[in-house]
């Protein structure tokens, strides 16, 4: 059976490859069978996908500090002066 559906170690690797369209037909079929039969790997697939979604939305909480804001403002001012001068 393992020859048909692969191991969990292989299946979790195939999941990443399939996401990027880098899995051949034979392994795609094996993965499909594996996921039909293995709830744990299905869970892994869904959970990893969900973390990817959370990653995209990841943002820092704090705003720019006053010092950084001033520094950037000064640099931009210098840049404008250089051009006009």
């Amino acid at each position: 059976m393992k020859a048909v559906m692969g191991s969990c170690k292989e299946a979790t690797d195939w999941i990443s490859r399939q996401e990027e369209g880098k899995l051949g037909v034979r392994k795609r079929i094996q993965l499909w069978i594996h996921l039909r039969l293995c709830e744990v790997c299905r869970q892994f697939q869904w959970q990893s996908h969900m973390l990817g979604q959370a990653g995209k939305k990841l943002r820092g909480a704090d705003p720019l500090s006053d010092e950084a804001r001033k520094r950037i403002d000064d640099q931009l001012f210098n840049e404008k002066q250089k051009e006009s001068g």
């Binding site: 692969g6 191991s7 969990c8 969900m50 973390l51 990841l58 705003p63 720019l64």
Partner: protein, 187 residues
């Protein structure tokens, strides 16, 4: 037609750009520098702005390029790369999940993905990845690049990439399960 207002950039977009950059480079000073470089580059090349995209999107495109350039430069530092898949920590010799690392059901799945505490836990878990794994993970999931682009930026082979991303995913999932999704005594 969109126009540029450089005088308003810091007030309108400074925080947004900084908050985007910080979790992607994990260094406050560096994130500030990237925001500064973004504004300077944008100002110098403002004649190229055609107004087809919004001012905000244009600035974000420049920032994203700067983040990728940062990783490109960083990748020239040498670090041993994995030669083959070796995940004994996760799987038995026959390739089955080990009982201690088998994915469990998650409890807190209905909470908002933009929840602040979740974001902090995600960042902490990311920071526990090995350096190269972290770079690959950030470029793939936070910057949404595909494997071929990531290999070019980091100067790694495709087989290295698949090993690194596989391990990073295993580790991130496990870390988030322990520290967020199934963490007891939550607030």
């Amino acid at each position: 037609m969109n126009v540029l207002n450089p005088d308003q950039w810091i007030d309108r977009f400074g925080d947004l750009l900084f908050q985007y950059a910080l979790p992607r480079v994990n260094d406050t000073l560096l994130a500030e520098d990237l925001v500064q470089d973004t504004f300077l580059s944008a100002y110098r090349s403002r004649s190229l702005f055609r107004g087809e995209t919004s001012e905000k999107n244009w600035l974000f495109t420049i920032l994203k390029r700067k983040i990728i350039d940062h990783y490109r430069k960083k990748s020239s530092a040498t670090e041993a790369l994995p030669e083959e898949i070796d995940e004994e920590e996760w799987f038995t010799e026959s390739g089955a999940w080990r009982p201690e690392t088998v994915p469990g059901r998650w409890e807190r799945v209905h909470e908002d993905l933009e929840n602040r505490e979740l974001a902090e836990t995600l960042e902490k878990c990311q920071n526990h990845l090995r350096e190269k794994q972290k770079q690959v993970y950030i470029l793939k999931y936070l910057e949404e690049m595909d494997g071929d682009e990531i290999c070019k930026v980091l100067g790694i082979s495709s087989s290295n990439y698949w090993i690194l991303i596989h391990r990073a995913r295993l580790q991130m999932r496990d870390c988030m399960e322990k520290h967020w999704f199934n963490k007891k005594n939550k607030k």
